[in-house]
């Protein structure tokens, strides 16, 4: 990327506020960056960092209640003062957008090619003939790697990855100079995610476009972007080339974020979680946004807002203490621990699944979801269950906890036959439910919004075994690292990570011996995810809990499990100790999963 390339987009001191009569709140606060032709930049941030709002501000698509100020110039033209009519001419031809969920971008009543054809114009802006549009749409489908006959399909007849490709082809139909991709791969399967990122990168290079990739995933950003901008609480904290940030971050936040992220290649001895949660921009208005959570905080971090300053060629950081603390940074690099766990000690089985099968009636036909599943979890053991969405891993978990009825096979939980929850005597059923509990994926839906945290926990305690020392709701909250005063709150007042802790506390109420975690950290921010993973580790150590981790994230699996099962299309295709399976995958599917983990190397090989 030569520095002489034309500056396509230049954002200066962008602010986005929520405005209401008598109240105003800053959501994006003083962000500046630029994008040149033929360059890919990344905007990385956790939830509430303002990254999506920045994208929307650029395109003039902010919700009515939000207001942008500052300056956004596209090829020298100020966008913030441009009329809606003029803006709509720039959208599509100048700047185009790809969103996270491909299916919400495509109208379900229109064929794939119609989404592309409606965007097509001749070079002079006039309409093309029907046959010319058809031919051009097919050519453009080819550009995103799809055969022309896909054009005749409806969005619900294609997979998520294909829908995202169609969305990309539509976004590129007027040959924009700048493409903004907001979490383009997040809603997709791991294996598809890699393909879409590859495609974006290739397309950008072939067309010499500018590309802004917005993502929460540092690994994704490193794999695709030339430069990465780290956002936090509505502010820009650090800017640098991908490799530089990866090898030598110059802001405590970036540094801690990298440490909080599990590594797919090695297990970290300690996953360094960042304490606390992302603040609201208004709460840190006059100080360093990261100060409340920073280990190296000093008075000068709290008294004024540190400016973002240049520390090297193309390197910016908003840390005032960076020269004093950089040496400390280096001293706390990650330690790795590749011991294969204590897997050899024979222990009592807590869960055993034998020849399990499950199929759903689908009209007159039968959809087979699981076949010949054999799986064991021993007391105190941590086992991973890995696979793409649709592989049947969640159905398996639901069978184990009795939310689904298996079609065939046997499930034994703590020595009790739990294959048929309906036919079981109530007493046995209760015993099974006190042995195995589940933590669900979406912390925003797994707590009843109409009930207080205390009510949720207390009702769970009523079904616990009538032991002599039953914990109180407050004890449970403290067990998962929340103050007991939270019992009076309602879920709406809690962050995602806090809600997930409450969900874990609820599961712990019945003193289970096995916890099934169905994608329990995948909806959380990286820094919070590390907190929850550490909580799981503590629970395993202190209470001797066994875990069954259901996830698509191999780095998480590497970090927390002793053994894994790899599931594909309802069958277990590979099993073994986590370390050996991930280091030497035997099955082609496992290899494909491993290959699809975003790695920095993608950038260099993709050239």
């Amino acid at each position: 990327m030569s520095a002489h390339a034309e500056v396509l987009l230049s954002v200066t001191d962008l602010q986005v506020r929520a405005t209401a009569p008598g109240a105003s709140q800053m959501l994006v606060d003083g962000v500046s960056f630029e994008v040149r032709q033929n360059e890919t930049i990344g905007i990385v941030g956790e939830s509430g960092s303002g990254k999506s709002l920045t994208a929307r501000a650029i395109l003039g698509l902010l919700p009515r209640t939000l207001h942008a100020s500052g300056s956004i110039k596209f090829r020298g033209r100020e966008l913030l003062t441009t009329s809606e009519r003029q803006l709509s001419r720039i959208r599509g031809t100048g700047i185009s957008l790809v969103l996270q969920d491909p299916f919400t971008m495509l109208s379900p009543t229109r064929k794939a090619r119609a989404h592309i054809e409606e965007m097509l114009r001749a070079a002079d802006g006039t309409r093309l003939s029907r046959s010319a549009r058809r031919a051009d749409a097919e050519r453009r489908l080819g550009e995103v790697g799809m055969s022309p006959d896909v054009g005749a399909r409806y969005p619900f007849q294609v997979s998520g990855g294909m829908a995202q490709r169609i969305g990309l082809a539509a976004a590129l139909a007027r040959d924009p100079q700048l493409l903004i991709a907001d979490e383009p791969s997040t809603a997709l399967d791991v294996t598809t995610q890699r393909e879409i990122l590859d495609l974006l990168r290739q397309t950008q290079q072939r067309r010499h476009m500018g590309l802004v990739l917005i993502t929460h995933d540092l690994r994704v950003a490193f794999s695709v972007c030339d430069r990465v901008h780290v956002f936090y609480a509505g502010r820009l904290l650090e800017v640098a080339k991908s490799q530089e940030i990866m090898s030598r971050p110059l802001h405590p936040y970036t540094h801690r974020l990298l440490q909080a992220e599990p590594d797919v290649r090695r297990r970290k001895t300690v996953l360094a979680a960042i304490a606390g949660k992302v603040p609201r921009p208004a709460d840190v208005a006059d100080m360093c946004a990261f100060a409340p959570r920073c280990t190296w905080v000093e008075d000068k971090c709290l008294t004024s807002r540190p400016p973002i300053v240049e520390t090297g060629p193309g390197r910016l950081t908003a840390c005032v203490r960076i020269h004093e603390i950089e040496r400390d940074f280096r001293a706390t690099t990650d330690a790795h621990d590749d011991s294969s766990g204590k897997g050899t000690v024979p222990r009592d089985p807590i869960l055993s699944v034998r020849d399990l099968a499950k199929s759903f009636a689908k009209g007159k036909a039968e959809a087979v979801v699981l076949t010949d599943i054999n799986l064991d979890v021993a007391q105190g053991e941590s086992v991973g269950l890995v696979g793409d969405s649709g592989s049947g891993k969640t159905t398996l978990a639901r069978c184990i906890v009795g939310l689904e009825q298996p079609t065939a096979g046997k499930i034994t939980v703590g020595g009790v036959d739990a294959s048929d929850f309906v036919a079981m005597p109530a007493e046995k059923r209760q015993q099974v439910r006190r042995t195995v509990q589940m933590v669900f994926q979406n912390p925003y839906a797994s707590l009843n919004p109409a009930r207080t945290i205390g009510a949720t926990l207390n009702e769970a305690l009523t079904v616990a075994a009538p032991a002599t020392e039953r914990p109180s709701a407050g004890d449970l909250l403290e067990r998962v690292g929340l103050p007991s005063a939270y019992a009076r709150k309602r879920p709406a007042g809690l962050s995602g990570g806090e809600r997930q802790r409450v969900a874990i506390a609820r599961a712990l109420a019945v003193s289970p011996r096995l916890l099934i975690c169905d994608e329990s950290v995948s909806a959380l921010d990286v820094s919070v995810q590390a907190q929850i993973l550490n909580l799981f580790r503590d629970l395993q150590r202190d209470l001797g809990l066994a875990f069954l981790f259901i996830t698509h994230d191999l780095a998480v699996v590497r970090q927390v499990t002793d053994r894994i099962y790899v599931v594909s299309d309802g069958c277990i295709v590979e099993t073994g100790e986590t370390v050996s399976v991930l280091d030497n995958p035997r099955h082609a599917y496992t290899q494909r999963l491993l290959d699809s983990v975003p790695e920095p190397s993608l950038r260099d090989t993709g050239q």
């Binding site: 589940m438 839906a445 109409a450 609820r506």
Partner: protein
């Protein structure tokens, strides 16, 4: 973080910006007006008979069809009865029937709707077919026919409307319960081994409340109008009783003599129905905003 959570954060910020102390929590002027109207109507219903300046049935044929005056603020009807007294005295009867209908339909729909939606199975199938049957019957027409056959009467009308209104509410409550059944927090309660009754009362019911309130208000308003209609057609309240619907029809013929004889009860019906509707919407919105529903 995912896009959804990002939006969640934005929404949280919205809520923080707009939520406390600003317009979203403060009732609008329209709601305040509705509140005042409902308060007045309730006061009329409770104390109307006591404060009526005259006996509502006292006839004075020499002063028949008089325009408003100091003695008769709203004038008199064709039998010389004081309109104001009759309007005040009729308030209780005007409200009690719709209240019974709305409350009865709410209780029936919550019990049957939640049970059908959450447990499913044959009960749901049978209930929903009955509901379909109810949908096929036009309430006013059926009420007219039945009241006609059975000789009319206010409470027959109330009973018929209660039966005919319930299916609409049952269908709504059932669909809400059905939606709740698949949510993770309900599934979490199931995996804990909590009983069905407990889950239905502690988990489903609180989330159904906003819908119950809206249903209640819609039913009340609709029942008020329909019952008045029955009385208007001579099939509700008995002749001579100070019923708003009845007065509307009886005094129609004097519309050029004393227009207030028909307009006063008619306006009261209209304003009450509209005010209750507005309040219902406002209450449901408020509950949704305070985190009762997501």
């Amino acid at each position: 973080m995912t896009h959804a959570a990002d939006l969640e954060a934005t929404r949280g910020a919205d809520r923080a910006a707009f939520g406390r102390g600003t317009w979203q929590r403060r009732p609008t002027l329209l709601v305040l007006i509705a509140l005042v109207i409902v308060a007045i109507v309730v006061a009329i219903a409770l104390f109307g008979r006591l404060v009526a300046p005259q006996d509502p049935s006292l006839q004075n044929l020499t002063a028949a069809t008089a325009s408003p005056s100091g003695a008769h603020w709203l004038g008199t009807d064709n039998l010389g009865r004081d309109i104001l007294s009759r309007v005040l005295a009729g308030g209780g009867q005007a409200l009690i029937g719709p209240l019974v209908i709305a409350f009865g339909a709410m209780v029936i729909s919550v019990v049957v709707g939640i049970w059908a939606g959450y447990t499913g199975g044959w009960f749901e199938g049978a209930t929903m077919r009955l509901v379909d049957l109810g949908y096929a019957l036009p309430p006013l027409l059926v009420a007219l026919v039945l009241a006609g056959v059975m000789g009319g009467g206010y409470w027959i009308g109330v009973a018929v409307l209660l039966v005919l209104f319930s299916p609409y509410d049952i269908r709504i409550i059932r669909s809400v319960a059905l939606e709740q059944r698949g949510l993770p927090y309900v599934e979490a309660a199931r995996t804990l081994g909590l009983s069905r009754i407990w889950i239905m009362t502690r988990h489903i019911l609180p989330n159904v409340v906003p819908f119950m309130i809206v249903d209640f208000c819609l039913d009340f308003a609709f029942a008020l109008v329909t019952l008045s209609g029955l009385s208007y057609l001579g099939l509700g309240a008995p002749p001579g009783s100070p019923d708003w619907g009845r007065m509307l029809s009886d005094n129609q013929s004097q519309i050029f003599g004393n227009p207030l004889g028909a307009l006063a009860p008619g306006l009261l019906i209209l304003l009450t129905a509209a005010a209750v509707n507005v309040l219902g919407d406002w209450a449901a919105e408020r509950m949704a905003a305070s985190g009762g529903m997501s």
